[in-house]
């Protein structure tokens, strides 16, 4: 080291200092990415699943003497002055015309959690929070505890067998209300529940979220039609995209002359995977909906014109558009699989006298089947999360009819459908009460992320497993 000239010494020291610093910055960027991903998933999990947990109801008495009951949602610092304010969900929109209430914490004189507060989920209106006084059924009448037991036993019956009953309710501020039983979906007294009952209630409401249709302008109820629409659209799409994608890949890899043109086509197909999805949506709208759909209407459905049948967005056009969008994914994945098959296998088959068709169907395709499957799963995963093109070609915020029903021809390709991603977007941004919708939006987002992640993980594991198997074969 004595040979180092004196004038390079300072620059070496500076470099040494950088040498120590930059690996840490790089490591921190990995950590930051992981942190963001983890934070996003945790937020979705906690808020999405936590919404279904029966929340404690509080009875609050203000300094002004006013009393109300509700569920505490969050606390925020008061603007321009010290102290916090708390947001309560109070429900009872039919009675008090608002269902949210901001209260400065300093104004609260007393808060309690009485056991007899109940929360009713109702079908035309949203939640009721208050107390149950009595149940009247024809000439019978139950009061107090007996009324609550009668209510839970009535709600356990199927909807069609519930007798005509009236609930006499009273809000925390003392207003009496009559409520027909027919409108009540479920009842809870969360303050009186044990942990086990709460867990049970939680799993029931998760199930209802997955299996019921939306209520109260998408701010309540479940997402079943959206799940159904998403799955149906994705199935249709994969039925369309898989054969065509595989066909194109076989043509490119096995039949076409491997020259410059084929290489250009291959690069072009690969690049189409990077073209924004909205461009495909524009193509779908212009060609499928206005072009093909418009012509179909003129030829076959001219009696219903000017109201369009196929000339407007629908299930068929949405699946076709997404099929086009995911075509490059399937082609690329299948081609990779085909390219990995050793040339010796093909030559061996041909040497034994097989025609090209026999070589393809008996040797090449079975060996490439896993790659095709991977391509299809990746296509499904991409399509399930895609929303932008669907907004142009046929998704609806609230479809009046399901695309599959008992009427001939059972599968209605021209109908609009609901989609989880669009449902999320619409409820979060176009609802009349975004505050009430946000917990459900979290749950929907969690569901969507879970579906997409599970599909992607399946593709990864499948590929990994098959590669290892292939590796032991060779």
């Amino acid at each position: 080291m004595t040979g180092v000239p004196a004038d390079t010494a300072p620059s070496r020291r500076r470099l040494h200092w950088l040498d120590g610093l930059w690996p840490w910055l790089c490591a921190a960027s990995v950590a930051l990415s992981l942190l963001m991903l983890g934070a996003l998933l945790t937020l979705l999990l906690v808020r999405g699943l936590g919404h279904f947990w029966p929340a404690t109801l509080e009875e609050v008495t203000l300094r002004s003497g006013e009393t109300f009951a509700g569920q505490a949602v969050r606390e925020v610092a008061l603007p321009q002055q010290p102290g916090d304010e708390r947001l309560y969900f109070t429900g009872n929109r039919d009675i008090e015309s608002v269902r949210w209430r901001w209260v400065a914490i300093d104004d609260i004189a007393m808060q309690a959690q009485p056991m007899d507060l109940i929360r009713l989920e109702r079908s035309p209106w949203d939640d009721f929070i208050g107390r149950l006084v009595a149940i009247e059924q024809h000439d019978q009448r139950w009061e107090g505890d007996a009324a609550w037991q009668q209510l839970t036993s009535l709600l356990a019956l199927p909807v069609s067998q519930r007798p005509d009953s009236q609930l006499l309710l009273i809000t925390a501020s003392g207003q009496a209300v009559q409520q027909p039983l027919a409108n009540v979906v479920s009842a809870q007294a969360p303050n009186a529940m044990t942990w086990r009952q709460k867990t049970l209630a939680w799993s029931q409401s998760v199930w209802r979220f997955l299996s019921e249709g939306p209520r109260a302008a998408n701010t309540g109820g479940g997402v079943w039609p959206a799940i159904f629409g998403t799955v149906l659209m994705v199935i249709l799409m994969s039925v369309i995209v898989t054969p065509f994608g595989v066909l194109a890949a076989i043509y490119l890899n096995e039949i076409a002359h491997q020259g410059r043109l084929t290489r250009f086509v291959r690069i072009g197909v690969r690049n189409l995977a990077g073209v924004p999805s909205i461009v495909y949506g524009v193509f779908g709208l212009g060609v499928f909906v206005y072009g093909i759909g418009g012509s179909l209407d003129e030829w076959f459905f001219s009696e219903t014109l000017p109201s369009p049948t196929f000339g407007t967005g629908g299930l068929l056009w949405a699946s076709l558009t997404l099929a086009l969008l995911t075509l490059p994914v399937v082609i690329v994945a299948t081609e990779e699989g085909l390219a990995r098959i050793p040339e010796a296998q093909r030559e061996g088959a041909v040497a034994l006298g097989a025609t090209r068709l026999e070589m393809l169907t008996r040797i090449v395709l079975p060996m490439a089947a896993p790659a095709m499957l991977t391509g299809m799963i990746l296509a499904i995963a991409r399509a399930a999360g895609e929303v932008a093109p669907l907004m142009l070609v046929g998704v609806a915020k609230l479809a009046p009819q399901m695309p599959v029903d008992g009427e001939f021809p059972y599968l209605h390709l021209e109908r609009k459908f609901m989609h989880l991603g669009y449902h999320l977007f619409d409820t979060a941004f176009h609802g009349d009460d975004v505050q009430a919708a946000i917990p459900l939006v979290y749950a929907t987002a969690l569901l969507l992320v879970l579906i997409v992640l599970v599909l992607n993980l399946t593709a990864i594991f499948l590929r990994h497993y098959l590669r290892r198997q292939r590796g032991s074969e060779c």
Partner: protein
């Protein structure tokens, strides 16, 4: 390539067991199937080509109208698209490249085989979910705590440096327990802790140095307006979505740099920094360039995140705290209402064409560069 010899000589190779009556049938089947596959393949490729043709065809009527109108309508949208993409890339490029360098050159092989798929999984998270979190959760929070958000952004790299400094001071036993090759993992709680510290300290900093209210200060001193959904939010959200694609490609390029090159440089007396900067980054430069290009293509075309997190106001301002409206979001909002054949319809399709051409060119460039790079690596590998 595969065809001529066996096709022509098939009759000579007939095995005695096959009756001659089945032979023509097999050949016919084969010809028909080949024809069908060719037709299908070419048809699919033509359908893909049709996208470009359709977009060009539908924008032709605009030529008759004249381009002045198109220019005035599309300029704010193009500006919005660029602004959104730039702010996303500003956030994504340093983080993604840093992560790529770390995981290609430092991370232990076992950790790397776990972390890489995890980060690539980020790409699968639907844009609509990221947009919802950004637009409805992050944006209102940042509006109320602007100073905290900015402090966290400055504080995070500093705290990473601080971690490195503490590590160098620490005892050897602790260093062995927390090695650099696992730092990607154990820095996560450290960063989370540092974010908490920053959030806790910010009100005090804001009170003492920033006059109590940063937004007020920005408005009075620089005349900057603040919109709830702005370029900052879009940058973070879309950066989050773009990071995995840049990371994945850049990491591939860096990991493929022949190890002999870096080892050779270090043997000749280069420090690790010099070996990285002068050798690894130079060798993988084209790959990193193509990774950034692919990321840019994705940022330009992303629709749902911009739609949900940008406020959709067509402004021509460079202020990072104001919203914008991008071309893709405009298409998503306006096209369903525009009747086919009207001027708006054609203009929106022109916007789609611009997006199509831009992303196609950028991706082709990236692909070509990557091809060249792969060839160069093969040469380098064969030399050693």
């Amino acid at each position: 390539m595969l065809c001529a010899p066996w096709f022509a000589n098939d009759n000579d190779m007939t095995s005695p067991r096959l009756t001659t009556s089945r032979q023509p049938l097999r050949l016919l089947q084969d010809r028909v199937a080949t024809g069908l596959i060719t037709a299908g393949g070419v048809g699919v490729l033509l359908a893909i080509l049709a996208i470009g043709i359709f977009l060009v065809w539908e924008t032709l009527p605009l030529l008759a109208i004249g381009d002045a109108l198109a220019l005035t309508t599309l300029t704010p949208l193009a500006w919005g698209t660029l602004k959104a993409a730039l702010s996303a890339l500003l956030f994504a490029i340093p983080v993604a490249l840093g992560a790529a360098i770390y995981s290609a050159l430092f991370m232990s092989a076992r950790l790397r085989s776990r972390i890489k798929p995890t980060l690539e999984m980020m790409e699968a998270i639907p844009g609509v979910v990221v947009g919802f979190i950004a637009g409805l959760i992050l944006a209102p929070w940042v509006e109320r705590h602007l100073a905290s958000a900015l402090v966290v952004m400055i504080w995070l790299p500093l705290s990473a440096g601080l971690a490195g400094f503490c590590w160098h001071l620490a005892k050897t036993r602790l260093r062995r327990r927390l090695p650099l090759c696992w730092a990607g993992l154990w820095l996560v709680p450290w960063l989370a802790f540092m974010v908490t510290v920053a959030l806790w300290l910010t009100p005090w900093i804001e009170q003492h140095w920033l006059g109590g209210d940063l937004r007020q200060l920005l408005y009075q001193r620089f005349g900057m307006d603040y919109a709830t959904r702005n370029a900052l939010i879009v940058g973070i959200a879309m950066g989050f979505a773009v990071i995995p694609s840049i990371y994945s490609l850049a990491e591939d390029a860096l990991a493929d740099v022949p190890k002999t090159l870096i080892e050779g440089a270090q043997a000749l007396g280069a420090s690790r920094w010099q070996a990285l900067w002068k050798v690894a980054l130079t060798a993988a430069g084209p790959g990193i360039f193509s990774a950034v290009m692919i990321g840019a293509g994705r940022a330009v075309g992303e629709t749902m995140i911009v739609l949900m997190a940008s406020g959709n106001t067509a402004l021509l301002s460079a202020n990072p705290f104001e919203g914008m409206r991008s071309m893709s979001a405009s298409i998503a909002i306006e096209l369903p209402e525009a009747a086919p054949g009207t001027q708006t319809y054609h203009l929106l399709i022109l916007a789609a064409l611009v997006l199509f051409i831009f992303t196609f060119l950028v991706n082709t460039l990236a692909e070509v560069v990557r091809h060249r790079l792969r060839r160069r690596y093969r040469q380098l590998g064969s030399m050693s």
